[in-house]
Symmetry: C2
Subunit: 193 residues, 2 copies
Amino acid sequence: MTASHRRPVPLSRAYRLLNHGPTVLVSAAHDGQRNIMAAAWAMPLDFEPPKIAVVLDKSTWTRQLLEGTGTFVLNVPCVAQADIVQTVGSTSGQALDKFAAYGLQTFVGEVVDAPLLEGCVAWLECRLLPEPHTQQTYDLFLAEVVSAQADERVFSEGRWHFEGHDELRTLHHVAGGNFLSIGDPVAGKQLDV
Amino acid sequence: MTASHRRPVPLSRAYRLLNHGPTVLVSAAHDGQRNIMAAAWAMPLDFEPPKIAVVLDKSTWTRQLLEGTGTFVLNVPCVAQADIVQTVGSTSGQALDKFAAYGLQTFVGEVVDAPLLEGCVAWLECRLLPEPHTQQTYDLFLAEVVSAQADERVFSEGRWHFEGHDELRTLHHVAGGNFLSIGDPVAGKQLDV
């Protein structure tokens, strides 16, 4: 079970879950309804308290739910979930419950009401920082991360380590359901003047 | 020479240069001065006209230059440049010209004055969309992409294709000079209900 591999991530390290630019799944729940969608455009915005930025199109049902409740979750999916990411990224949840329709298992977060998707490798529970101009003009949503977890098999002590876990590598969207998985470590050394 | 591999990228496809979440180098020039710094927090913001978002700390010299001139460049570096990324990301350009100090070769952009760094795999020339509140409160800068180029060996017809070019793979920052290179293609299929 995935559950046994989930560990809390200190908020001071939460930015590292997004630092390398993975595609995320945004989940939200409001007034008895829930949804999940894919978003390639998400990034950290600050270290501590950790903040994030994510772009959510006006047409999305998830956006309506999170504007209603003021909270949401960024789930970081992995290679094993590529079909799920493509599917929830290309269907609308207003007419059907994607979780039920596609057999998606969820668990309950520490702070927010939005469902957390089983099988992901990291989860960031977020509280919206209301910025109506930015939201309306740019579809850009800013939020504070209020709780974070990760799969200890690939993230521990503030670092990703995917060696030996190719199915748990993060996904990075190119276009149209084509992703790149994250690759191998590269160390940068400071050059002398 | 890298120069011979540079090709224009249609603006409608420019977002794909950042879609997979690479670390970027931000360069700017103003009033006879120039600088370049690393930024892991950058992402697309819109398709067409293409827009981007990037976080720039108040302490950075590059931020002062781009606030002065209103334009800048996002350079997308590759594995072969890991030491350069680490170096320009951990030194200040206010006291020394990093380009001269570290022997960084540049070329002239199509539209903006900021220098473009040789050896990168993509370049997005950007014009600031002034949003003083967002800049001041969140260190978040929004911009329109006004010209884009990429190395045709790894990006053509709107797609990244890194096979056979491991040294040209993009870098994705973890922390403290430790990066992950981008990996292999993964296709996501739409699931049946």
